[in-house]
C-alpha cells in the first residue's frame, strides 16, 4: 500500500534494496531547507567575503617574503616567518603576555567570585539594580575607561599621591606591568562577574542547607557544594577574561611602557612604520589565532555554551 503511493517519478527500481525509497516529503523538506539556507545566505556570503577570505589572505601572507624596503613580496613562499616565532624576543613577549593574562584572570576571579556571590544572594529587586550598576561601566567606551586609569596612575595622579602619603617612596605605577594588569582587570571584570553570577544564581540554595544539615561547616559546604556547582561559571569567566587579555592591544599601548609590550601590540607594530614586516605579522596573527581556538574549544568542551 505504502509503496504504491510513492510518486512514480521517484524511480524505485534504481534504489538499492537496503535503502528506503525517498519519501513523499523529500521535495517539500528540500524546499524548506533551501528556504532556510537562502535566509541565512546574505550573512554567510558577507562573512565568507569579509572574514573567511581575509583569514585566508593572512595565512597566504604568512608564507610570503619581506623585501629589503619593507614591502611584501607575494612570491618565494617560505616558512621563515614561522621560524622567527622562536626568536628570543618573541618568546619573551609571549611569556609576558601569558603571565599578564594569567595574573589578570586570577585577580579577576578572586575579586569577582565573592562579588558575584553577594549579588546572587540578594533579593531579586536588589539583584537587578546591582547588575545594572555592573553593566553601565561595561557598556561604556573601553578606550575611555582605560584612559581614565592613565589619569589615576600618572605621576601626579591621585593613586600615586595616596601611595606617597602612605609612605611609599617614589611609587611608579604607570607604564609598568602592574598598570597593564589593573587596566585589564578593570576592562574585563564584567566578563568574569556575569558567568559567575549566572551559575551561582541558578544554584539551588537548599543544597547548601542540605550540606549544613549533614553536619558540614560553612566552609566545608562552600568547598564541597557551592564551589563545584559554580565551576562552569569559573571556567567560562576565566576563559572570557583570558582570551582578550592575552591578545590585548589597547591596554598595553595606553598604560604600558617599553618593558610591557604584549603580543597584540607586537603584532600591530609589524604593520606600521618603516620597520614593518607583514609576513611576520601575519604569521604571529595565525599563531595567536591558533591559541585562541584552543582556548575556545576548551570553553565549549566544558559546557560554556550554556552560559
Amino acid at each position: 500500500m505504502a509503496t504504491t503511493l510513492t510518486p512514480p517519478d521517484s524511480d524505485q527500481t534504481s534504489v538499492p534494496p537496503a535503502k528506503l525509497p525517498p519519501g513523499l516529503e523529500t521535495n517539500a523538506e528540500k524546499a524548506e531547507s533551501r528556504r532556510g539556507f537562502l535566509i541565512g545566505l546574505p550573512a554567510y556570503a558577507y562573512l565568507v567575503l569579509f572574514f573567511a577570505l581575509p583569514l585566508a589572505i593572512v595565512v597566504v601572507y604568512s608564507f610570503a617574503t619581506r623585501s629589503t624596503t619593507g614591502l611584501t613580496v607575494l612570491a618565494d613562499w617560505n616558512l621563515q616567518s614561522y621560524a622567527r616565532l622562536t626568536d628570543s624576543l618573541v618568546v619573551a613577549i609571549t611569556w609576558r603576555s601569558l603571565w599578564i593574562a594569567t595574573l589578570t584572570t586570577v585577580v579577576s576571579l578572586v575579586v569577582a567570585y565573592p562579588f558575584a556571590y553577594y549579588i546572587a544572594t540578594r533579593t531579586p529587586r536588589v539583584r537587578a539594580a546591582l547588575l545594572v550598576l555592573v553593566m553601565i561601566p561595561f557598556w561604556s567606551n573601553f578606550l575611555v575607561r582605560t584612559f581614565a586609569w592613565r589619569l589615576l596612575l600618572s605621576s601626579d595622579g591621585p593613586v600615586t599621591r595616596i601611595l606617597e602619603t602612605l609612605g611609599f617612596a617614589n611609587p611608579r605605577l604607570l607604564f609598568t606591568p602592574s598598570a597593564v594588569i589593573i587596566g585589564l582587570v578593570y576592562g574585563y571584570l564584567p566578563f568574569m562577574i556575569l558567568p559567575l553570577y549566572a551559575s551561582l544564581e541558578r544554584m539551588d540554595h537548599s543544597l547548601v542547607e542540605a550540606a549544613r544539615d549533614l553536619y558540614a561547616t560553612g566552609w566545608e559546604a562552600f568547598r564541597k557544594v557551592t564551589w563545584p556547582l559554580s565551576k562552569p561559571g569559573v571556567i567560562a569567566g576565566s576563559i572570557l577574561v583570558f582570551i582578550p587579555s592575552f591578545g590585548a592591544f589597547v591596554t598595553p599601548e595606553v598604560l604600558g611602557g617599553t618593558g610591557t609590550t604584549m603580543l597584540g601590540s607586537y603584532i600591530g607594530r609589524q604593520f606600521v612604520g618603516t620597520a614593518s614586516d607583514w609576513p611576520f605579522g601575519a604569521a604571529l596573527s595565525v599563531a595567536i589565532l591558533f591559541v585562541m581556538m584552543l582556548a575556545a574549544m576548551f570553553y565549549f568542551r566544558s559546557g560554556g555554551k550554556d552560559l
Binding site: Y46, F115, Y117
Partner: protein
Amino acid sequence: MSIVDTGDSTAAVVQDSVARPRRTVDRVLAGNAWLVFLFLYLPILVLIVLSFNDNDRVGVWTEFSVRWYGEMFENSRIMGALRTSILVAVLSTAVSTVLGTAAALSLERFRYRSQRAFDGLLYLPVIIPDITMAVMLLLFFVQAFDIVLLVTGVGLSRGLGTITLAHIAFNISFVALVVRARLSGLDASLEEAAADLYASRWQAFRRVTLPLIAPGVAGGALLALTLSLDDVVIAEFVSGAGTTTLPVYVFGALRRGVSPLINAVSVLMLVGSILLVVGSLAISRRRTGG
C-alpha cells in the same frame, strides 16, 4: 576569633551558632561589593572631574571650567571624527541587525546540510582577538584594492567605507548570537499555531515571530552600536589617512601624550554610551512594565 567565642559562653548560647559566622561572612561580602563598585566607578568619576579642570596639566587642579569642552566643539578634526563614528555605527548596526537576525532565524528554525559550517563561521568573529581581525581586514583591503586598481584602474582608499564594512563583519555575529538566544527560548509551536491559523510564512514571521524576538533584535542592535563605537583596533588598521573615528583619534592623541582636551572628548564618549544604555533600559522597562 574562635577563642573569644568559646570564652564568652553566655553569648555563644544566646546567639545562633549558624547565624554568627554567616553575619561576618556577609559583612565581608558586602564590603568587597562596595570596593568593587568603587573600583568600577572611581576612574570614571575622576575622569569627569578632571575634564572640568582649567589647568593645562591634566593632574593639577586649578579651577572649574568648561574651556576644554568649548575647544572640543571648535576642533574640526574631533567633530569630523565624531561624525564618522556615528555614521559608521549607525550604518553597520542597520546592516548587521538585518543580516544577523536572518542568520539567527536560518540557524535556529531550519535544517540544512551546510549548517554546522555556517555555525562555526558565525562564531569565529566573536572569539577572534581584535588585533587578528584588524590584520586580516587590513591585508584584505590592501589586496582587494590592488586588484581593483589593476583591473579597473580605479584607485580606492581606506576610510569610512572600509571601517563600516569591517564593523559589519564582526557585528553580524554578535547580533546573531543575541537573537539566537531569544529565538531558542521561543516556543516553536507558536509559529506552528500561526500557520495552523492560515498565516503564510511571511505573515507568521511579521505577526508572531518578529514581535516576540523584538527585544532580542533590539538588544543585538544595541550591542552592535556599542561595539562599533567602542572599537579602536580594527578601525585604526582599516581607516585611511583622512577619515578616522573618534576612538582612533583619541588613541592617536594618547600616544602623543595626554591633554585635558582628550579628557573632554572622553567624557563626551562616556556620556554618549551611558545615555544609550540607560535609554534602552528605560525603554525596555516601560515596555515590560506597561
